[in-house]
Amino acid sequence: MSDQGHHIVASYDRDLEAIQAMIMKMGGLVEAAILDAATSLERRDEELAESVRRGDKAIDELEEQVNEECARVIALRSPTATDLRTVLTVMKISGNLERVGDYAKNLAKRTSVLVQMQPVEGAAGAIRRMGKTVEGMLKDALDAYIQRDAELAQDVRMRDHEVDQMYNALFREFLTFMMEDPRNITACMHLHFIAKNIERMGDHVTAIAEQVIYLSTGVMPEDDRPKGDRTPFQNAEVDE
């Protein structure tokens, strides 16, 4: 995975490859969890939602394994330079992936509640598109990791803006629905949490992209990226 040539001690290469393979496996599971959770909501598929909830355990276990392996590499190999950055970024990325997995699990939990209620028009489709966008960002962030591609990572970072805008739009939509008919409140509250959680996934994916930039260049990006979540400054009256 590195363009740096091999270590004189070959088992060192194997150790570093092993922890990176674990990250990739985790990434694959998390990507699937996002898509499945969003699909389960759209199709009102309780079984699929249940499988996403069950699947989170595997992601959590992988994170544990990554932490243990990283501790071992640090203790036994004293990594420096690129090797050090590899271990550091692997630990951070696994933490981010674990959080994204948790959000997907939460989405699936709320799906189980939402299927009992009247669907809110257009919401599930919008949520699925938002999930798809974040999943696409995650896929690119992981590809950027494999290829040590700081440019692609930077591109991912900039795309978080889109997710924020989708969340803003949904936030306003849910407010409107709730004001129109109080019977929508329960469903819209759940849907809002789902949208917010996907927006948070985008932040974690952005953090992963920043780790890729650190890994490949040795410095964290310092430039400001566009921030799109304006909901903290909004109130219900804006729509009236």
């Binding site: 740096q4 040539g5 091999h6 270590h7 004189i8 001690v9 060192y12 004293s78 990594p79 420096t80 330079a81 690129t82 090797d83 050090l84 950055r85 040795g218 410095v219």
Partner: protein, 265 residues
């Protein structure tokens, strides 16, 4: 980068102690040091790292003219200590070496008593007037060498009877006794066990409050632990010189990277 050690170690702005410009060294036809330019700062621990034969020891030995004794060795360029050219014909190498002390890879105490090991330098340089003052220098040096408590009851015993780690600290105390300004250490811990190594490293950290310490080491971890600045030598060139935290997290030259991460270039 928020390297805490960097912050801790950078508190006081430092002056340049030793400065080398366009330094070249030949052993006969062998061009051992090529165009080395480096500023070694005051009250700083500087580590020289690099593979065997890269010139780091050769360059270290240039700093107190130890290469003068090698017949076919030729040195060009300028090396200054506090702005004064150390290769100026008016400079007495013996006086220079009192200012720029040296500790070697293998502990090499004189076959004399512990007391005389320390007292030797101050005696020949006339640093003590009388026995009481000499006693004081010996005690102070042994204390600074972090070995006083272990030897204070047997100062008449031969220095060669101490353990390896103690002998090395005795040699460091001996180097300090002439009140040097710079301490050169050529692999001072390679013959020591981890505990003695830690004691010497702790001592180096103590000494840097008063001296410039330049240490050649094959242990990258040791360089990382003790030094503020690290210079990487390769095939006689000074490839990279920078703050130790930077060298070990984000080296700029791929050769440095390959070396410190244990890769084939």
């Amino acid at each position: 980068m928020n390297d805490m050690r960097k912050v801790e170690r950078d508190v006081d702005a430092r002056e340049v102690k030793i400065s080398a410009r366009d330094c070249q060294v030949w052993y006969g036809d062998n061009h051992a040091i090529k165009d080395v330019n480096v500023d070694i700062e005051e009250k700083t621990v500087t580590a020289f790292i690099g593979p065997s034969g890269c010139g780091k020891s050769t360059f270290l030995r240039c700093l107190n003219r130890m290469n003068d004794m090698i017949d076919n060795c030729r040195i060009e360029g300028t090396i200054t200590l506090d702005g004064q050219d150390i290769y100026d014909p008016r400079v007495d190498p013996v006086q220079l070496r009192a200012k720029v002390g040296m500790v070697f890879q293998k502990p090499n105490p004189f076959p004399k008593s512990i007391y005389d090991n320390i007292a030797y330098g101050p005696r020949i340089h006339g640093l003590a007037r009388g026995k009481a003052e000499l006693d004081e220098i010996v005690e102070k040096s042994l204390r600074r060498g972090a070995i006083w408590d272990e030897v204070k009851d047997r100062l008449d015993a031969p220095g060669t009877g101490l353990s390896g780690g103690q002998q090395q600290r005795l040699c460091i105390a001996r180097a300090i006794a002439t009140q040097p300004e710079v301490l050169l250490m050529d692999e001072p811990c390679s013959a020591l066990d981890p505990i003695a190594t830690a004691q010497v490293e702790e001592l180096i950290d103590e000494l840097r409050k008063d001296y410039s310490v330049v240490i050649v080491t094959h242990s990258m971890q040791q360089a990382a632990r003790v030094s503020h600045k690290t210079a990487f030598f390769h095939l006689g060139n000074l490839v990279e010189y920078g703050e130790t935290g930077q060298i070990f997290t984000n080296p700029r030259d791929p050769r440095t990277e390959s070396y410190i991460t244990g890769r084939i270039g």
